[in-house]
């Protein structure tokens, strides 16, 4: 099923005001309902290599796998499992690929990347993430953070050591507890949520949410949600106006209309003529 008409997508990525390289990588494909964002880490250009591998591999693997995997022929529960299994499989493969590159080429030693992937199908979104790149959801003019960072700070917030407010003053902002390509195995966190027409999903690297308060992200998406490319650029601009200390990447996905699974043979036949 082609989701291009159900999803509107805009994205922007920027080096920021301080760094010399953009180590973020992004890709989105409305047709298969996929958005991928990675924030690379590692010396010299290794960070770019890691995030580049992650985004390229995940996008190409899923573009191939999604049309072949008949998610819609399965019941919803099994469909969920199928989508989750696919995400898990492709993340595992990507992890191995980055890990092996890092181990075989000395200049890439120790490289890694964060990851957030959103897969839209059947009025749902499945999201896989590793590290501190985030997915937010805008619904009924309210912004909610969907993913929970795999970071030291988040652990401290969870344990009650730090309030969210105090966390903004922490000097330990840049410590992630999980990353892709660092170890032979990785456990992505994967959840599935209902998606509704009117929702706007925001995938972003920490360069956005470290520099721009959630409140201002919400304000921007409320004010500019009708013009997604403008909203994407506005978010990047705000991060840069506030100092732009890190690379900034955003992908915005708006649900324009329902995209239920079409599981009858008739609708599948009809979809050939669309």
């Amino acid at each position: 099923m082609n989701l291009a008409k159900a999803l509107e997508i805009a994205s922007a990525t920027h080096t920021g005001m301080v760094r010399s390289h953009n180590e973020d990588a992004i890709a989105a494909d409305g047709g298969v309902g996929l958005a991928v964002l990675a924030d690379g880490m590692g010396g010299y250009n290794a960070g770019e290599v890691a995030s580049g591998i992650a985004v390229a591999l995940i996008t190409s693997e899923m573009r191939q796998a999604i049309p072949k995997t008949n998610l819609h022929a399965l019941s919803q529960e099994e469909g969920d499992l199928q989508a989750v299994r696919m995400l898990k499989g492709v993340v595992t493969k990507t992890n191995t690929s980055i890990f092996e590159s890092a181990n075989s080429q000395p200049q890439y030693a120790g490289m890694g990347t964060t990851l957030v992937v959103a897969l839209f199908r059947d009025n749902r979104v499945s999201v896989a993430h590793i590290g501190d790149s985030r997915l937010y959801r805008m619904r009924n003019e309210r912004l909610d953070q969907v993913t929970r960072d795999h970071s030291l700070l988040q652990e401290q917030i969870d344990s009650g050591m730090l309030s969210k407010e105090a966390a903004r003053r922490s000097q330990n902002k840049n410590l992630v507890t999980r990353a892709l390509g660092i170890e032979p195995e990785v456990e992505p966190e994967i959840h599935t949520y209902d998606a509704q027409p009117g929702d706007i999903y925001l995938l972003c690297s920490d360069g956005l949410n470290d520099m721009v308060e959630d409140e201002d992200i919400e304000l921007t998406l409320n004010a500019m949600g009708s013009n997604l490319p403008l909203a994407a650029n506005q978010l990047v601009q705000m991060a840069n106006d506030n100092g732009g200390r890190d690379n900034i990447s955003v992908i915005l996905v708006k649900i324009v209309r329902d995209f239920p699974a079409t599981d009858t043979w008739l609708s599948r036949v009809l979809s050939w003529f669309k």
Binding site: G110, Q171, N172, T220, A223
Partner: protein
């Protein structure tokens, strides 16, 4: 590296580097910071340091612990905090927090907690942030080559001036003003604020102060424009609708347009004026 400076009546007695995960302060000899004074409890307070953050905790002392004049039980220490224990003062210095030392690069690292209960391998360290404040322990993670697992250096401070500030509006004459607009209690550095006054239509005369990072004007579905507040001044941008806003008789293009004092904006048939007003 954070440190403590112990003083009495303005005289520096000693400095202590916060190298340990837990640094204790008290009268008894086994404390890391020993203060031999009867107003100080045997075990008075402790400082837990997790990488670059330090947390002070009063250990139920008889006479209490003050930070910047306020009694505390637990406190997240910030650079320059003054801790008072009896007549003694302990200053907490964390230069990294001041962002002044260019040599101190922030590095992003991966902290790996062994997921499996299996015995830790050689070189493995643990990320145990436990709910108990006192037993928090975190060690930095090194991979088996002895190299730091991941690092991405971040130069310590934001640039002093955004490079685009070539056409500063009156409000931004003093350079980048506070743009973390939601930071509570931080007054904007600039003393001028942009305001929109409606000149025509049923709301004529109404003033709309532009306090937020973005202010929406117009009707959704018909015509919407947004005024963004930036370090360089205020900008108007067309968001949606077939007609575009007109500024001083000129229709806007797709670009954001900087607003100057007393510009006239026409939007959805309503005329309005932008001007700067001193902040009360």
């Amino acid at each position: 590296m954070a440190k403590l400076i112990l003083t009495l009546d303005g005289v520096v007695l000693k400095e202590f580097a916060l190298t340990k995960e837990r640094t204790t302060i008290g009268r008894k000899a086994h404390n890391d910071v020993q203060i031999d004074n009867l107003a100080v409890s045997g075990e008075h307070a402790a400082i837990v340091t997790i990488l670059n953050d330090s947390f002070l905790e009063d250990l139920g002392s008889t006479n209490g612990t003050l930070v910047n004049g306020q009694p505390i039980k637990k406190h997240f220490l910030q650079n320059g905090d003054l801790v008072e224990i009896g007549k003694y003062k302990v200053k907490y210095v964390n230069e990294q927090g001041a962002g002044t030392s260019a040599a101190d690069f922030e590095k992003t690292m991966v902290l790996r907690a062994p997921q499996r209960p299996a015995e830790p391998r050689v070189g493995d360290t643990q990320t145990g942030v436990k709910t108990d404040f006192r037993s928090t322990q975190v060690d930095t993670q090194f991979n088996n080559t002895g190299q730091q697992a991941i690092s991405r250096p971040i130069p310590p401070q934001a640039p002093t001036t955004p490079p685009m500030a070539t056409n500063p509006a009156p409000a931004a004459g003093a350079g980048p003003m506070t743009t973390l607009t939601t930071a509570p209690g931080v007054p904007p550095a600039a003393a001028m604020q942009g305001v929109i006054q409606i000149l025509s239509g049923p709301n004529a005369g109404r003033e709309l102060p532009l306090v937020k990072a973005l202010t929406t004007l117009g009707k959704p579905g018909v015509q919407v424009a947004v005024i963004t507040k930036r370090p360089q001044g205020y900008f108007i941008t067309h968001v949606e609708g077939a007609t575009v806003p007109v500024v001083n008789g000129q229709p806007l293009n797709a670009q954001a347009h900087i607003l100057n004092d007393h510009d006239i904006v026409e939007l959805a048939g309503v005329k309005m004026e932008f001007f700067y007003k001193p902040v009360a």
